[in-house]
């Protein structure tokens, strides 16, 4: 129960931070990615600021088995740098640069009630589902 409320609190802060930092503003995001054009460097401070805190906390948790609320620590175990990681991340960057939304800011931006944001999020969920079904063999013929 407590750890579910912690997730709610973390979500609230995360959403607040995304909106306040400018990450939900696609003008800012596309300006940030436009390093060879009229570069808007502001959003570099978002990842910088986040890492300043998270580097410290992840280091604190590194050798622990349980969280402070005694939940198991779900650290990723996959260490493989493979073609799936690279192709997937490259594709993600392409979509990010086309519209200006990565998943978090796209979800938070739903509160702006723009129809196109809803269309983006719906398509994003469709894209995730498409990969999941292909991966699970749903579309594969035997």
């Amino acid at each position: 129960m407590k750890h579910d409320l912690a997730a709610l609190l973390a979500g609230l802060l995360f959403g607040f931070g995304l909106a306040y930092s400018g990450m939900t503003d696609t003008h800012k995001v596309l300006g940030f990615l436009d390093i060879f054009g009229d570069w808007d460097y502001d959003l570099a401070f978002v990842m910088g600021g986040a890492l300043l805190v998270s580097l410290f906390s992840f280091r604190l948790m590194k050798n622990r088995q349980l969280s402070l609320l005694d939940c198991p620590l779900n650290m990723p175990t996959n260490k493989q740098i493979d073609s799936k990681l690279i192709a997937g991340s490259c594709l993600f960057g392409l979509g990010w640069g086309l519209f200006g939304y990565c998943p978090g800011p796209a979800l938070t931006s739903l509160i702006y009630l723009e129809p196109e944001t809803l269309v983006f999020v719906f398509s994003m969920v469709l894209g995730i589902s498409l990969h999941r079904f292909m991966h699970s063999g749903y579309f594969q013929t035997k």
């Binding site: 607040f16 800012k28 990615l33 300043l52 640069g97 939304y101 983006f120 990969h131």
Partner: protein
Amino acid sequence: METMFENSSIQALTGGLIIGVAASLLIMLSGRIAGISGILKGAIFSKGDRLWRGLFLIGLLAGGFICHWVTGKPVPELAIDNPLLAVLAGLIVGYGVSLGSGCTSGHGVCGIARLSPRSIVATLCFMGTGILTVTLTSLLNGGL
């Protein structure tokens, strides 16, 4: 109403610090990685453990709402007004983050904080193709 902002770089840094605190709370208290694409995927498809993911996602929207409400920061307008591009970009982002097991939050914030080589490679890839896409787009539109 007069708003009280500092300049946009300070806002970016402040917002970033808050995101860092959010990711820290989730790992330190719940033992979970704040990777939004993974949380979304899990909320839709996983059999159990949906409650915390759902609550996180509700918070993600409510937190943005509270931000604009409390600070008076103006609501941003979309840079691109093209529904077809919204569909295409959304599909590519969704497929990509699922195939690459993460996005800006999971790889960029949490993965780099863990000093995971996998996440560092992923971040370089999506930053690289993001920059490439915007550069090519502005070239096509006669910019630069």
